[in-house]
Point group: C2
Chain length 349, copies 2
Amino acid sequence: MPRSTRPPSSKPGPVTLAMVARRAGVSPQTVSNALNAPGLLRPETLERVRATVDAMGYRPHRAAQTLRTRSSKLIGYGIRPTAPGATAPVMDRFLHALSQAADEAGYRILLFASPPGSPGLDGHEELLDLHSVDGFVLSGTDRGDPRQAWLAGRGVPFVGFGRMWSGRQIGDWADVDGASGTDAAVDHLVAQGHRKIGFLGWPRGSGVGDDRAEGWRRAMRRNRLPVRGRRAQSLDDLAAARAASGPLLDTGVTAVVAASDMLALGCYQALRDRDAVPGRDVAVIGFDDSPAAALLSPGLSTVAQPLEAVGHECVRLLLARMAAPDAPPERVLLEPSLVIRDSTPPPGG
Amino acid sequence: MPRSTRPPSSKPGPVTLAMVARRAGVSPQTVSNALNAPGLLRPETLERVRATVDAMGYRPHRAAQTLRTRSSKLIGYGIRPTAPGATAPVMDRFLHALSQAADEAGYRILLFASPPGSPGLDGHEELLDLHSVDGFVLSGTDRGDPRQAWLAGRGVPFVGFGRMWSGRQIGDWADVDGASGTDAAVDHLVAQGHRKIGFLGWPRGSGVGDDRAEGWRRAMRRNRLPVRGRRAQSLDDLAAARAASGPLLDTGVTAVVAASDMLALGCYQALRDRDAVPGRDVAVIGFDDSPAAALLSPGLSTVAQPLEAVGHECVRLLLARMAAPDAPPERVLLEPSLVIRDSTPPPGG
């Protein structure tokens, strides 16, 4: 090949505009304005930025400056590693949809690996510094998520796939109304003639899981039915789901609303453990419409998230935020839809 | 948010180095050399590039030039959209592994949506022009794939996850030895006591599918067993797999090697259609260790691809190619591994 050697790991250059911005506690755009359009800044901000530029010895290269202040057309997205053999089909389908929606808008998704448990702030910082991403899409948002405040504090546009589940809401987000999904699942089962409808959930404390539990609870109350549930001891572990299903089935339910398809599958197994037939003896409905749902016997009725629409909304909200940084936040809650297969016939079905 | 407005769709700038390279029919590095190290080029190439630079009015901006010839630390990857509800768990797991391996090497994956059926050359071009990616990882390689020749012709480093399946081999690749996987599946079934082992495959003509069929065939011959197979009429469609399984089961096989887990699942359904029990009445082994394999009843024995290793190899090969463009091509064939669950007991289960 004719291309000649490049050092594969050349260091990033000297002091960058992003480093000045961080030190001065302002956005990169503000530093750029200080250099190119100082009249836009308040005098005290201009002075602070200029002092930082001097102190750090930042040399604004005219061409680099032009390149940097122009949109990079890149959107950063942290992808979580999955354990070998495991998958995260919802997040993977979302990434496909997001990538497609970004392409259609003339943007590209820049991935960085965001290890589980780590908020990934280092990754965000590097994408800002080295690649000048225009903004971020956050997924897997949960209680105490530090990313939104970190990005907002730096004036970096972002949008969450998922709400802030506690504290002050920060920034724009698009999310799926999980409570509405489990609520609709209960109504479907009630219409089929079920009255004893149990809930198989996740351990308390996850925003998504508690939301799905709440939808079941409110629908049961609205239908004047007894509220009894059982939470599995861990998230999306088949053995835990199977173990948690036993005591729930012991209560004599004729139908189970599960907070995930994996939990529903654990319930299938618990039913077979007692020589009962899923669907026929106890109706089961899952959540997420994962690939396995259509493949199971009986086919699992489930609640599907509109992931293509979420991907499009995320890109739309992010671009709107880039265009109008000071506009009021916009939050979009999308309706999931029921996918009825063979696992939710009438009682004794 | 303090960040001020940016035009969300500012046009790319004037004539770029990549545009000159394309017009002159040389690599971007060659254009760079013409400007910065003309002594490296043959005189006729130098003259052609200089004439193109003049004709197009290209102005090599010193800083932009520095930025452009320095590594962008970006690797381009085309992601195929999946139909709503569908998933591609193998490719998704590979992308996770690739993203992780790239991060560890100080690189990032830049995604572009590559529609099915399109070779996605426009996407490659745009990533080169607008984002100066250092190279590409290609997946879903198949017969007649135009991408390798296109990239090689432009001197752009790339590595394939997957072989060229026909014609001249171009460039570096890492792949999984599918034939070795189905071969090992046959040996496992033979060791269990099976002799009538059928193959349930894809329609002829896909490189991956034919490779998996070949491994079954050679293992059957080596074991001096009769070679009888049946190919489904479409790729990864459950109804087609179920339909193709019937005639194969009619031949009296006691075990089936399927070219994918989806095909194996179609075989499960065909067995149940005739009131037979998968595993107990006919052993079934799949390919890919998809998430559903572990969830089925009985758990599906299958062949697992070492996707984490493939991701690491792809990054390693690509970085080596960037460092030594003229080194001979390197090709890595990785061994898959058997995952034995409950679907492959001895005959009569």
